[in-house]
């Protein structure tokens, strides 16, 4: 226990740096993933061609199933080592849940609501921006929340390709046989994931209330 505290007090700049790297890695991946996945999800909702949907979902699903270590390894020859390939790998993982939830969120909007929006004279763009997107936000947010939690834990592996982060503490700790270092890295990632989950959960709840998304809104 003593070793643990002295490690924290002595090395806290390193710990903070690792934490910061971890945050940058995870959130860049999630934010970029959202920027890519939400519009694709919307396009898929509006696409009339069934097989395009199948292919896109197949690819997004495929990324999901590649073991993270393998994906990171595959990217080294393509992008080298460091932050960039790590962010790209994590981003690929984030696509599927956000895509899926955007798609489902849009489909959850009541048919009567959509018909009345069209009947009132909303253009397609207005229907998306003013009706479907606000009503799907709780769904999209929940996709983002779930992804964020996964990404934070997978980001510990990013240190293996030199991207730093809390995983770096674990890897170094293993190298020099310092259990407290491994412990800090692991606990840090867990706490970070919990905090992110909690905060995003609050945001999700607020959005649901803000947009009064209730199942029985239409008679």
């Amino acid at each position: 226990m003593n070793a643990f505290w002295s490690f924290i007090t002595e090395r806290y700049p390193d710990i903070l740096k690792a934490l910061q790297e971890h945050l940058v890695l995870s959130f860049s991946a999630v934010i970029l993933g959202t920027i890519i996945a939400v519009p694709i999800g919307i396009l898929l909702v509006y696409s009339r061609v069934g097989w395009i949907n199948s292919i896109v979902f197949f690819i997004a699903n495929l990324f999901q199933t590649i073991p993270s270590l393998a994906l990171l390894a595959i990217l080294i020859p393509l992008l080298g080592i460091g932050m960039k390939p790590a962010i790209l790998a994590l981003l690929l993982y984030s696509l599927m849940p956000i895509l899926r939830n955007t798609y489902d969120g849009f489909h959850s909007v009541d048919e009567g609501v959509l018909n009345s929006a069209r009947g009132m004279g909303y253009s397609t763009a207005q229907t998306i921006l003013r009706i479907q997107l606000p009503l799907s936000l709780p769904y999209i947010m929940s996709g983002i929340r779930i992804t964020t939690v996964y990404i934070i834990s997978w980001a510990t592996l990013a240190s293996l390709i030199g991207a730093g982060g809390l995983g770096q503490l674990i890897v170094s700790g293993l190298g020099v046989n310092k259990p407290e270092m491994i412990f800090i890295g692991g606990i840090g990632a867990i706490l970070l994931a919990l905090v992110a989950d909690g905060l995003l959960g609050l945001l999700e709840g607020w959005l649901s209330r803000r947009y009064h998304q209730t199942r029985d809104a239409a008679i």
């Binding site: 009541d110 018909n115 009947g119 947009y211």
Partner: protein
């Protein structure tokens, strides 16, 4: 004027929903589309705001084929109450009603004012309901909001797909009356879908009866009632009206069927102030005085009561005058009318063999009875009563 010319609608799944429809919806009139579920009423209606495109044939508004118009623009100029209401769950009621004015970029003051007026008009106090969300309203209240929303941008054409179906009978009548009143001022071209023949007869200038994607009969309510095109129409008009037609028309009604059974009466011991209050409340100008044994003692008119009002101790028994004419239970209506006519009476009590008071024949009750028997001659609008 809206014209459908040889319109066919075949849905993507191959279902032939409309078969060679030719229709005219006259400007400034309420046209009611009626028919059994699935006959194509909503499908027909959606042709007009381009939510459906005809598989063949034309839809013309004021002579212009709407396939050449921008559908979004077109819809903003056509009010639409959709069958499933479809309020936007993330907007409060005021926002919902103001949707089309905002799309048309009205200024905020004008939009807010219109929204408030419309909410009040459909019977929802805007100070109470304006900030609520759709999920906080009952089905009937949501329907009212749906109606207000369709009227908001003051469109010339309004499509209403079963707009009152979730309302209780009393609110429904109120909104029907409101619609008729509004229409007298505004002369919109309204197309109204309903399942309810009473509603159709009440509000329609023209009724279009549909069945299985075809038009069965078109005409004024009166014409359709008098000359149903076939058995289907006859059935749809309803067994009650037809029974009346077949059985009661040639049967002479008895006073017992026509009389009002709950006229305004008072015990002889009541004071004059009470009598005035009662007349005021029930909006009548005279009271029948009936004692505990249901014997008719007399009647007082408001003038008599006011005349003697200063004398505090007096009861209605002191100022009443005897009722000279009455008719026995079991007499026929013509007998009663004969008595009323020859003595210039506005009403006539009905009594049984023990002299007990049973009810009152009034002019209003006579009209009402006639309206039930001959619905086409006396539209049900006229059933206001007077005693």
């Amino acid at each position: 004027m809206i014209v459908l010319e040889h319109v066919n609608k075949v849905y993507d799944n191959g279902f032939h929903a409309l078969k060679d429809i030719n229709l005219e919806f006259k400007e400034g009139e309420i046209t009611v589309l009626i028919g059994p579920s699935g006959c194509g009423k909503s499908t027909t209606m959606k042709l007009i705001n381009a939510l459906n495109t005809p598989s063949s044939g034309k839809v013309l508004i004021d002579g212009k084929n709407i396939s050449g118009l921008n559908p979004v623009e077109l819809r903003r100029n056509i009010g639409y109450v959709i069958q499933s209401v479809g309020l936007f769950p993330h907007m409060n009621i005021s926002k919902n009603v103001g949707v089309v004015p905002r799309l048309k970029k009205w200024d905020k003051g004008k939009t807010d004012q219109t929204v408030n007026e419309l909410l009040d008009m459909v019977g929802l106090d805007h100070t109470v309901y304006g900030t609520r969300y759709p999920s906080e309203l009952s089905g009937g209240q949501q329907q009212r909001v749906g109606v207000a929303r369709a009227l908001a941008a003051d469109p010339d054409i309004i499509l209403m797909d079963e707009p009152f179906s979730a309302l209780d009978p009393i609110s429904r009548e109120q909104l029907q009356d409101e619609l008729i009143r509004l229409q007298q001022d505004l002369h919109k071209t309204i197309i109204f879908v309903t399942h309810d023949m009473d509603e159709a007869i009440k509000i329609a200038d023209t009724i279009i009866l549909m069945k299985d994607g075809e038009v069965v009969q078109t005409g004024k309510p009166d014409t359709i009632l008098r000359h149903p095109a076939n058995d289907f129409v006859r059935n749809f008009i309803g067994s009650k009206r037809l029974e009346n037609e077949n059985e009661n028309i040639y049967e002479i009604p008895l006073v017992d069927e026509v009389m009002i059974t709950n006229p305004v009466t008072s015990f002889p011991s009541r004071g004059l102030a009470e009598a005035i209050k009662m007349m005021e409340m029930k909006r009548v100008d005279s009271l029948l005085i009936v004692d505990r044994n249901k014997q008719l003692q007399g009647a007082v008119s408001i003038y008599r009561v006011l005349d003697q009002y200063g004398e505090e101790g007096k009861t209605v028994a002191d100022v009443m005058h005897p009722v000279r004419y009455s008719v026995a239970s079991g007499s026929t209506l013509p007998q009663a009318i004969e008595i009323m006519d020859s003595h210039q009476l506005s009403n006539l009590p009905v009594i049984d063999s023990n002299n007990r008071f049973l009810g009152l024949i009034t002019r209003g009750s006579v009209v009402k009875h006639l309206a039930e028997v001959y619905p086409t001659m006396v539209p049900p609008l006229l059933n206001g009563e007077d005693e």
